[in-house]
Every structure is written in C-alpha cells, then in structure tokens.
C-alpha cells in the first residue's frame, strides 16, 4: 500500500517531476547543470544564474528506495571503492557508471559545474574529487565551510565564506552560465526562502501537540524535501509549505496523528526523538516497526542536516551572501558535539519525548562518530530511556530486521516500564 497522498505530497511530486523533466531537456534548452550537495547548498544562488541543481545524495537515497543501490554499490566496489566507505558515494558513482539514470527513469545530464559547497562532512570533498576525475570536462568550484568548533559562529568564518563566494563561487557560476550575478534576483529569492523556513518550522513545532500531527523523522524526510533541495527560494516552495501547514493545522484541529503508509497513526503511545539519518533501502519496513507500536518521532536531527532553523536563523534579503554563509555554518553536522547534544536536549524537552533513539549509520562518520557519547550525555542529563540501533543509508547488506527488532524490543520495554512507573507515581495509592 502506498503512502496516503495529501495535497502537499502531490504538489511535491509535481515539483520534482518538472525539475527532472527540465534536467532531461537541457540539451534543447541550453540550461547549465550544477551538481552540488544538500547540507550548505546554495540553491538560491544557482537559480539566480538560471542553472539547474542536481544533488547526488538525493539520487543515492532515491536509488536506495527504488532498490537500485545494491547494484550501483557493487559496480563502484568493483572499481576499487572499499566496502567501508560512505555508501552514498559508491551508489552515486555506480549510478553514473551505469548510465546515470535518475529517479524518474530519465537520464541525468552530466554536470557543467561541480559546486563543492558542503558542510559538516569531509567525505563530500573526497566525493567531488572523485567526480572531477570522472567528469574531467566539468568546471569545479570549492566552498570550504569551517566547523563550528567553539560552539558558535565565528565572524571570521562568515567572512571567509563570503570571500569564497565572491572570489570563487560566483565567478565560476558566471563563467559556466554566461550570466552575470544579479544581487536583486538573489535577494528576492532569499525572501521566499525565509518565508518557507518560517512555515517549515511551524510544521516541526506542531509536534508539541498531543497527539503529534506529524512524524518528524519518517514524515519529516518528505517535509524537508523541497526546502533542502532544488526549490528553496522559489514561489512553488512557499506554496508547498503553505499547503503543508494547512494540512497539519487540520490534523491538529481534529486531534489526528500523522499519516503513515497504513493510514493515520493512532493511538499515539510513544513520543521519540531520533538522531541519525534513516535507512532508505527498507524505509517502509523500518517505519512500520515504529508506527505498528504507536511510536511517533516528534523531532529528529536528520531533518536539520540541510539547515537548522530552530535557533531563529533565516536567509535574509538584506544580506544575501552573509546569510548564506551563516546558513552553511549552521547545518546540523557542522555543529560541535556539545551543540548537537543541546539541540537534542531541547527537542526532547520541548516536544515532551518519552525516549531518545540513535540510528547509527555504518557508512557515515559525520553523524556516527561520537553518537554513543552524545547518547550517554542525554541519558545523564534527562534520565530518559535511550536506545541504539545500527543500519546503513543505501547499502542493503547492513539492514538486519531481526537485529533492529531485538534492540528495539528492549528499548520499548524500557519505555513501557518508565510509563507505568510514571503512571503509578501520579495515581493515589
């Protein structure tokens, strides 16, 4: 059974179809193509040059969902890529070697520009170094985003990024597109970005209601789709989020839970916060484990990987380059571990979660290294049940239903015990 379709989902599907259609027609339209990454992406800037973005991670996750990733990963491993490295990279390279057929079944055009703007992960750099060798004709632009090591944004880092935008990124975009930089066009997009960001945060914050009208992890990956990728800064993006907020408001009014592939989640039994990306190869199966038990995710770190808006950050028309720099610096995996813990603590208390779960991804050090320490820190601070499971993003070899289920059984037992303890405490004896 498919996920029950709401208007916002239909809208998102249309947006994607049109985008991939435009990509398949670049030979005719002459539009230039930019490959770039989700965290710290410069979508508004790319669009200001009338270019079309492609996100290799999104292609990889779509390949995972469409059960293509196994073959792509095998192809890359045969080419010499180790079993132990990020499966997104291998999936992407394998896809390219097998004809670069995108999620809609159409061939994706090769990049005119590899825009190595990324944040929070060193693998991105290696990924594009590899792509550069596979697409020797493509121009490459690099935007280095420093880490928020001291737990705050250093003004020098903002200046460094702005400097790189001016001297490296914009000149390369101009060169490849043949268009000159139009600050007003960019500023207008920033306004639209900020509107969409406000609306997205409204959606996330609806999880304060009981029952939560959203699932901020499994549902969340759909909610962040347009804003994290090709559409931030477009009117369609604002329309999408306006519709989504309307749907969420309706669910709040009717005291409805989130929509799952098997209909509405009801009743809500457990409210959880989760750290780490989801598994894509068994997405439905993974989600089902939770909704069958009435477990809903009220917040997740993964849905902040393409931008953290909870702290008030918004793109700004007043200072387009400066706000893009701050945006890049603020993405979740660019936060120091203490900042990540604080953010998760805030989620747990704000959204009144019963427990905290880590889904540790085998191939993603950017998320995984340090997760065990973060988990213990949260357990100490909040004294809530914590759980730990392991999967992978798109490598199906690392999804073991029985292992996950076993671990989750003990986690849910803990949650149940805690619930009955709390219940006893409030009942007069």
């Amino acid at each position: 059974m498919g996920v029950q379709k709401e208007n916002s989902m239909i809208k998102q599907k249309q947006m994607l179809a049109e985008h991939f259609m435009a990509l398949s027609q670049v030979r005719e339209t002459g539009k230039k193509v930019v490959y770039t990454f989700v965290p710290g992406n410069l979508t508004e800037l790319i669009r200001a040059f009338d270019m079309l973005p492609v996100y290799p991670e999104i292609n990889a996750l779509q390949s995972g969902m469409r059960q293509r990733s196994r073959a792509y990963i095998r192809e890359a491993e045969e080419m010499g890529y180790s079993e132990d490295v990020c499966s997104y990279v291998k999936c992407d390279i394998g896809m390219m070697l097998q004809g670069n057929i995108g999620p809609t079944g159409r061939q994706l055009p090769p990049p005119d520009l590899l825009l190595l703007s990324y944040t929070g992960c060193f693998v991105f750099m290696k990924w594009f170094e590899n792509l550069k060798h596979l697409y020797p004709e493509a121009e490459i632009a690099m935007l280095h985003v420093p880490y928020q090591e001291a737990g705050r944004i250093d003004p020098a880092a903002v200046r460094y990024i702005e400097n790189q935008l001016r001297t490296e990124v914009i000149p390369k975009l101009e060169k490849v597109s043949g268009n000159t930089f139009d600050r007003d066009k960019l500023a207008a997009a920033m306004d639209l970005s900020a509107q969409a960001e406000d609306l997205l945060l409204k959606v996330f914050d609806s999880a304060r209601h009981k029952p939560s009208p959203i699932d901020a992890y499994f549902g969340g990956v759909y909610y962040v789709g347009p804003i994290f990728t090709a559409f931030r800064g477009t009117p369609e993006c604002v329309e999408y989020y306006t519709e989504l907020v309307r749907e969420v408001d309706l669910r709040i009014k009717s005291r409805m839970g989130p929509i799952t592939p098997d209909g509405e989640l009801s009743p809500e039994r457990y409210r959880l916060v989760i750290e780490g990306p989801p598994n894509w190869t068994h997405f439905r199966n993974f989600w089902k484990i939770f909704y069958d038990l009435g477990a809903v995710f009220v917040a997740s770190s993964y849905t902040r990987v393409g931008g953290v808006y909870d702290d008030g950050f918004r793109h700004s028309a007043e200072d387009p380059l400066g706000s893009m720099a701050e945006y890049c610096l603020g993405c979740y995996t660019n936060l120091s571990l203490p900042q990540r813990v604080d953010l998760l603590e805030n989620f747990i208390t704000r959204y009144q979660a019963d427990g905290f779960l880590v889904n540790s991804i085998k191939s993603c050090n950017s998320f995984s290294a340090g997760q065990l320490v973060m988990m213990r820190e949260l357990e100490d601070r909040l004294e809530i049940p914590v759980g730990f499971i392991e999967t992978d993003l798109v490598d199906p070899r690392y999804y073991s239903y029985s292992n996950i289920k076993n671990r989750l059984d003990s986690f849910f037992q803990m949650l149940e015990q805690r619930k009955s303890m709390n219940h006893r405490q409030v009942q007069p004896v």
Partner: protein, 394 residues
Amino acid sequence: MGRRPTKFDDLTAAVRFARALYEDLSFRYVSAWKHDHPGGKALGYLPIYIPREILHAAGMLPVGLFGGGDRVQVIRGDAFFQSYICHLPRTVIELALGKQFRAFDGFIFPSICDVIRNLSGVFRLTFKDKYILYLDFPQNFDPSVGAVFYRHELERLANDLERLGGTRITTRKLNRAISLYNENRHLLFSLTGLRADFPHKLSAVDFYLILRAGYALPVEDHNAFLSNVLSLLEAVDAEAEDKIRVVVTGAFCEQPPLGLIKTIENAGCYIVDDDFQLGLKWIQSDISDDTEDPVGALVNAYLRQSTFSSAVYENGHPKGEQLARLVKQRRADGVLFCVPSFCDPSLLDQPQLERALDQNHIKHFSFQYHENLGQFHVIKEQAGTFSDMIKLWE
C-alpha cells in the same frame, strides 16, 4: 627512561632510546619535561600536522598523539566508538580515560576527517577541565582568502596559548622556533634521503622509531638526536639485499604496528618513502625565520610549501600525479597502499591514486590494517608475491 637523549655511541643504543619513547604510553617523558620546566604546559595533538612553532614560542611542549597502537587493550574505548569507525579514536580515548594523558594540559585536533573532528567534541564533553581546540585548515589556497582565514586560526591559537601559558609569543621567539623546525626538517629530509638511497643501512622499523621520536622530544633534542644518528649512520657498512623498492602510502594517521612495517621489509620490500608520520615533513622547504611577520610566514608555508595528502583538497593538482612523481623521484619499483580500515580519506583516495599509477605504469597493491593488528602472515605473503612479481618483470 632518561629525560634527554645523551650522545649515543652506537645506533643500537640510539634506537633503543627512540623505542622507549615510543613504548612509553604513560608519557613519563612529558611529566619529566614539565618537572624540568616548572609552569611549562604540554599539549597533545592528533594527526596530521599543526604548526608546532607556535607552541614552541609559547614555551610549550607539543606531543604528537597516535593512539595506543597494539600496546593498549581496548576496554572502554569500544563503548565510545562503533565497530565501523577506525581504531585510533578508541585507543586515544582509552588512554585518556586511563589517565595516561594526565601530564597534558590540553589537546589540539587538526581538521582532517570527520572522526578527528567529532573526537574533539567527545573530548569537550568528557574532559571539561582541559584546553581543547579544533584547528581548521583552509581548503582554499588563495592568498587573499584562505590565507586570511588561516591567519585568523593561528592568531586564535596563539592568543589561547598565551592565556594558557601566561607567556607572550614574541616575533623573536617565533622566528627562533621556525629556525629550529627548519633545522629539524633539514635533518629529517637528509635522513629520509639517506635511507632512500641506502635502505639496507637502517631497518624500516628503526628509521620509523627515530622519526617518531620527533613527536615526543622537544625540537632541540630531536635535532641533536638526528644529527647524532646521521653521523652514526656514516659508519654503518651493510650489504644491500635483493629487495624491491616501494613507496608506502595511506597510513598518515592511524599508525601500523611495528610488526607490520617489519613484515613489509622482511617480505622483500625496502620502504624508500612513506607517509607514516607525514606531519613531521608536512612543510617541504624552509620557512622564513627572520621576518617581522612570522605568523604570515607560517601561513604562507601551509598554503604554498605543504605536501599533498588525502586530508587536503587537491585544488587542481591531482594527487595521483604527485604520488607518481614521488615514486619516480625515489626510484621506487611500486607502491603499497597500506590503509587503516574504515579510514574515509585514505580509502576514498585510493581508486583515483591507483588509476594514476596505472596510467604511469607503476605497479601497486593494497591491504588494510588496524593499529592493533597481530597477524601479518597474509600481508607477508602478498608483499612477498608483489616483490617476486616485480623482480620477474624487471
């Protein structure tokens, strides 16, 4: 162990001294240094490179940390890092929790990969009383962009160290430190060149230990030690064996156990260059040591005089070509990719490096290890076969 290297009369004693430093996982030499330098601070730093000149000018002892290798049993470290993360951070944390780092006043984490980066966060959460710094290096090499940022990073480091140590870092002190490290690099390059030309005069393990002492000793002492070793080597008279010459690459962070280095050599491969301790030779030529702006000199050196590495953006200079050049320069017969398991930077570079070697008709083979690997027979067999094959081809 002795606090300072005395002048050694024979190579065996010198190597014994270096080995004792390597094996001292309680870092007693750091405590001894602090005893001799009341109020002096010691900072540990993770691979690969930091500008130690600044620490020296602040009157501090920089000590390179590589985890515990095969000499520490991991008990608590596995509760900090999942099995699919490289081995180094778990022995680092094991030592830290076991109080072996008690003589250190702080730790510096250079920006080389996600694991080291997040390890800095683990330290921040776990060791709240220590000074902790994550040092970002620019991946943009434009003097008007990357240099500005890196200068800011170094000034931040210098300010922190002045506060921590209560000593002002003057231009004079920094120039002096630069000149000492210039001398250190001269000696290291001489020794590396000598060993590349006459690998039979000094075993790979002994060479490794002599270099590695540079991560523990104050630079003045390492300089004296290297000069001593170089003069002792002049007297060594040994017969070259029928071995092939290889460059080993990939092991710039988590270090292979000594047994592995020995195995490569025993299997018929002289290691004529390697990146085992890349940080010592990160800067490839002299840095100006008589300038009014020594921080600027360090910045320029990083941007223009540093070596290639998997941790640094290739920026239009393909690393495969640089590796192929090194192979030619060392007159090596082939390359061994010796890569720590789960090491993203190294493993992700390998396919393109291999392609470049193929294009240059340079033979290569690869294997993975972790720092506490105990069994080497498979690697011995592979390295032996590689060596035999090359001899057959020649």
